[in-house]
Symmetry: C2
Subunit: 139 residues, 2 copies
């Protein structure tokens, strides 16, 4: 249940937090913007302010429950942190996203951070391309 996950994370189990966590869990596949989470709440008839959505998502991020990504477009997107890091393969035609991890790349990233004296906190790798079904011969 969501409320115990929240308490585990050191957060009081308030209604907005429970609802927002549930929405993130329901939308496990997608990366949501704060505004989209807010809309999803309203669609469920919940009266939660946008400011609260931002506050809660930030708390979730601090608690390690979600990851905030800064893709292009001047806004952040959030996804549930399911514990295992992954990278993204994005189809520029369809917008489809495939997740993957590659042990060799992970290894090299660690080595590179170390070489430069960095204590790595995070890393993101996005490969943009055209997926098989969208490759038209005439393109």
């Amino acid at each position: 249940m969501s409320s115990s996950e929240l308490k585990n994370a050191g957060l009081k189990a308030t209604l907005p937090r429970i609802k927002i966590l549930e929405i993130m869990q329901k939308n496990r596949a997608g990366h949501m913007r704060a505004e989209e989470v807010y809309q999803a709440l309203r669609d469920e008839g919940e009266d939660v302010g946008l400011a609260t959505v931002y506050r809660v998502l930030t708390q979730f991020e601090d608690a390690g429950l979600v990851i905030r990504h800064h893709f292009e477009g001047g806004h952040a997107v959030f996804e549930l942190d399911e514990g295992h890091h992954h990278d993204h393969l994005v189809c520029v035609k369809s917008g489809n996203v495939i997740e993957f991890t590659d042990p060799i790349i992970e290894e090299r990233q660690k080595a590179i951070a170390k070489e430069h004296g960095f204590k790595m906190t995070d890393h993101t790798l996005v490969i943009y391309g055209v997926s098989a079904e969208y490759q038209k011969p005439e393109d």
Copy 2:
């Protein structure tokens, strides 16, 4: 000279464009925010508006002269496009950026795209971390 580079790119060689290009070339090492470019102009006594800096940087991006990155922090940074791809190591404390390329990672990315039937068009890898000089012992 900057003005011929601009004409090559199909842009009229106006004073703001020339100055902004020169600033980007002088700061070849760094990734600059629009605000920083604007400050650099003012430091040189040039009377260029911030809106123009944004407009010119966007034109430069369209013309392939600069690359716009969306790292953390809710703002974009721009760097000269020198034609060769590279990845980034970003210090989350200072905002410093180090560029690198790793042949093994490049190779793996190609392989992964291929495995998934993707025709790769682009890729970005950012490693976030704390650089040596910002690592406090007690942390």
